[in-house]
Subunit: 158 residues, 2 copies
């Protein structure tokens, strides 16, 4: 199905645009990642608002994370997170075995360094969604074998 394609293609254009309009310095890369992360944050906020309009209150943090892995992920990527793990102390690892925003990159090792710029937006997306549900977090990502990737969510206690 091509249902996720408009979002995917638009995201890829956005990454290219941001990287093209900036310079190529190392510091610029950091700034671009931040820009993408911030845009993801705002989209995540808007999205979770629409998705939770008619849902019941969440029981606890784990309940929130399950919603992100199922409903939220399906809305954006047309699939669920494949694996959710937690240490029960505020760290959650969400694994996607076939992450859509990486699927257009070849799986060769030489493309691994390209991966972070395609993950920054989604880190922000998760952080924004959680933030609107009252959960402050830091979200990072990691790719070992494409197109699989992991998002690590560290809950910030207030």
């Amino acid at each position: 199905m091509a249902d996720e394609a408009p979002f995917q293609l638009l995201h890829s254009e956005l990454v290219q645009y941001i990287y093209k309009s900036g310079e190529n310095a190392e510091t610029e890369n950091g700034r671009n990642i931040t820009k993408l992360e911030n845009m993801g944050f705002r989209v995540g906020q808007g999205l979770i608002e629409r998705l939770t309009k008619d849902t019941a209150r969440f029981k606890d943090e784990l309940d929130v994370m399950k919603f992100i892995c199922k409903d939220f992920w399906t809305c954006v990527f047309k699939k669920q997170i494949d694996n959710l793990r937690t240490n029960h102390q505020g760290i959650y690892v969400l694994q996607d075995n076939r992450f859509r925003l990486l699927s257009h990159l070849s799986a060769g090792k030489q493309y691994l360094e390209q991966a972070p710029k395609y993950l920054a937006f989604t880190c922000g997306l998760v952080r924004g969604a959680l933030s609107n549900l009252g959960v402050r977090s830091i979200v990072t990502s990691e790719v070992s074998i494409m197109p699989a990737c992991k998002f690590q969510v560290m809950i910030q206690k207030m």
Copy 2:
């Protein structure tokens, strides 16, 4: 349903980003419109490729336009074009009575001047899709009462 929301919200972030990063001069507005149109063009090309992978050959120009109004529009906006008209001489008018990328703007007249920047991407989208199907065109848009709008497609004979 929130199915079109990720695309919609990302598009709105993109428009804001492009307008924020540029200056506010009149000429800059034209450049921003062009940037958005070009990004739409490339997304349209990629999208139509996926959508037509398994479809039969199109009979004629009208057949192509019907595909844009139904399958293509539904894939991006989760609804069909409401009305398609043609003069049978290469001009087509596609009317969407509730255009998704305008639905977040209020309907007041004072927002009408904001409309073009939310339509440029979609003009490019249509032009890109048609271009990949071998149809060269010029696509313009028009809003009279929000959130309804019209896209006019002028086929360019080769």
